[in-house]
Symmetry: C2
Subunit: 441 residues, 2 copies
């Protein structure tokens, strides 16, 4: 019997395995269901003939399962934890009771990313647990809380994880229905700019002679941005310009400006950009976002207070080849050079961007494996605009994201879903990838 026939016979197994997995409320932020999810996956991996180990970096367990053999190797990165389901009232069916409606399977975590892992398991099962490549599953349980212990685990198991290709956790059909093949994600630096001018708040009448933390913060911020342009000296020195081939990929990416403007209620984009220049900005520009401003009185009405402290929370999205430490150092130097030595940069953390070049042979394997499998041609994205811990794996091997979500999968939101048929198609894509990488096709 062919592998494709095994896949077709295994559809019931796949959907039942997924539904049982979805019923476990494995919410890392709320510390529920972690043990149940780990136990369920250990049993399932075992039943498929994998060798399973538990690793830990001090947080929730990481499962590493291996199977198969062959000339090439592949590592799958997934996570078994999911976002909290609130607001519960907005779900049409309970988040941990998987429900099929209109061809879609609804449940918390189905798109992000339980269906992706089970589709990969279904592919393994179609090969009777013996694919013609060496397969390693890496499933962590803290992705939704920022993967605080992931670096320790990956660095401690680098040799075991290194492979010819890492398949990243998830991907989605874009707004035109084309399945995305994603070659990277942005990095991030988070922190707070803090100004403290006095040891106590004062009555606002005293602002006539006392220094003001809030004004000082506004001035410090203003020296970092002119109109829509980031003016932090040298911040983008390491930014890599896309080459002609990459721009060709960018040109094919659909971007419905009217829909974006309508969704967010904006009448323009930054710098008045439109067309290809806008899409290029989307993928290749860093951000310097203010996520929170806090000083003084926050309630209704007025309070006559001179606040002693002012804070701006920020996140900076990094594009290749920006590095978190270098970015923070440049921000510090820029503030100092503009006289803001009194403005502290606090609570900094971050990680670098990661990408696999479109010219990498691994990209061809993934694209080739998809050919004729999906109902529409795949589309290759050089980046996501979001960030993730992909860099830990990218240091070891090429990383490429594929998955079974769609443009309205509602990840991190109520009524998360994937199309049931996409779930099965995704399994076939992975099964074909084993074949392609083994050199048999």
């Amino acid at each position: 019997m062919t592998v494709d026939a095994e896949l077709a016979r295994g559809r019931d197994w796949a959907i039942e395995t997924l539904q049982a997995y979805l019923r476990i409320p494995s919410i890392s932020a709320q510390k529920t269901g972690i043990g149940d999810a780990v136990g369920y996956l250990e049993r399932t991996f075992g039943e498929l003939g994998c060798e399973v180990r538990r690793l830990t970096g001090g947080g929730n367990p990481v499962l590493v399962a291996t199977a198969g053999s062959g000339p090439r190797s592949i590592t799958f990165y997934n996570h078994y934890d999911v976002q909290p389901p609130d607001p519960l009232g907005e779900w049409s069916s309970p988040p941990f009771e998987p429900t099929v409606r209109d061809g879609k399977l609804f449940a918390r975590g189905v798109a992000d990313n339980k269906a992706n892992l089970v589709a990969r398991l279904a592919a393994l099962r179609a090969w009777s647990g013996k694919p013609p490549v060496r397969v390693t599953f890496f499933v962590e349980g803290e992705e939704e809380i920022g993967s605080p212990t992931l670096a320790r685990v990956v660095e401690g198991s680098a040799d075991a994880l290194r492979a010819d290709l890492c398949i990243w956790e998830s991907s989605y059909r874009d707004e035109t229905g084309r399945p995305q093949i994603i070659l990277g994600c942005k990095g991030m630096v988070q922190g707070e700019l803090v100004v403290r001018t006095a040891k106590t708040d004062a009555h606002s009448s005293r602002a006539v002679i006392l220094p003001s933390a809030a004004w000082r913060l506004a001035q410090a911020l203003a020296c970092c941005r002119q109109g829509d342009d980031i003016t932090v000296a040298g911040l983008c020195d390491a930014c890599v310009e896309p080459d002609a081939g990459e721009m060709e990929l960018v040109r094919q990416i659909p971007f419905d400006e009217l829909e974006w403007r309508r969704n967010f209620g904006v009448d323009r984009f930054v710098k008045g950009l439109t067309g290809l220049a806008l899409v290029k900005q989307f993928f290749y520009a860093p951000t310097f976002n203010i996520s929170g401003l806090t000083s003084g009185y926050q309630g209704a009405g007025h309070k006559t207070v001179l606040p002693r402290e002012a804070r701006a929370k920020f996140d900076i999205r990094l594009v290749p080849d920006m590095e978190p430490g270098d970015v923070v150092a440049k921000l510090r130097r820029h503030l100092d050079a503009n006289g803001f030595t009194d403005v502290a940069i606090e609570h900094v953390d971050g990680y670098p961007p990661a990408r696999t070049l479109y010219t990498d042979p691994a990209v061809t394997w993934v694209e080739d494996a998809a050919r004729g499998v999906w109902d529409k041609p795949t589309i290759t994205y050089p980046h996501m605009i979001a960030s993730g811990p992909m860099y830990l794996f990218r240091r070891l091997m090429p990383c490429i994201g594929i998955g079974v979500g769609h443009a309205q999968s509602n990840i991190h939101a109520p009524n998360e879903s994937v199309y049931v048929e996409d779930f099965h198609t995704g399994a076939r894509h992975v099964s074909r990838l084993f074949d392609v990488m083994s050199g048999a096709s």
Copy 2:
């Protein structure tokens, strides 16, 4: 028997009347004790032989009580409402159980300003309710919540309130122990600068192409201040420079820079000012204070959000002859001229400054009446740095603040107090003022 002897005999009456008044928790912000305070004052005014009327502008009642006759007239402005007493745990004795310790009477509202009213009543009583000037008491009940209905009441009774002099609610010994005679207060404009850039918050990765309310607000603010200088064009066009005589008053005002720097934990004042230039700034400069900054995420840690809205609450203290409407119009024009037509100015209210010139004959009456009464010479302040609704009365007559507080009276704070002896001395000051104004001395 002389009036001074009557005052001495009336000390017990005065302190008992004050203590009974202090036991009433007349907190306008919490709507408690209002009826009790009004009833208590009505009875007390009646017992002193006054004619009493209740007025209202739609809020808490205003009491107007009249007595005496003579060639000149005097109006006293006071309020029967007090600040809430929290934090209760920091009071050494309960806020509404007046307690004497170390020569000081402690209770909520004793300095601001129940002791001042009762000292004035004690003076009236020493004149057997028949002082040689026409006396009008005006006692409102909403001062601590911003006197929202006061303008209506004052404008509706202008003819009855107009007199040769208005004695304002309160004053304090300064840090060297000299009783202050206060000739004015600053005005104020409060409002919010608001930037709205989208109809919804967005994931912060989208800041790469979507406009940012927080950055826009920081930039708009920064165009209003350069270093410590307000740069709103024309804002201070109406500011009046003190003349040589006023500067002579300013020169006599004690200002302990070291103590201020220590109290607030600052190492410098705005613009690096010191000495006379600092004191002049204190009284004669407007402020443009940011009392609150709010945008996006306010909690611990980070949230990757692009906020759709950013707000800066502000208060601008006005010096003579700045006008609220003119100041707001100039702020609007300045923002527009700098391209910030999208920054709204909302929730605006305010009132103008008020002052009585040091050359006004009424100042001499108050200064003369104090001579030999207090243990230290009085000191005349051209302004307070705080604001108040004095302008409503200043339109009708000269307004001068005197009172029985001291430099550590802790108004609006736990353990509010006045010295018992200052309370009795304050009564004698008012009693002498009746005499001086009648022309008899």
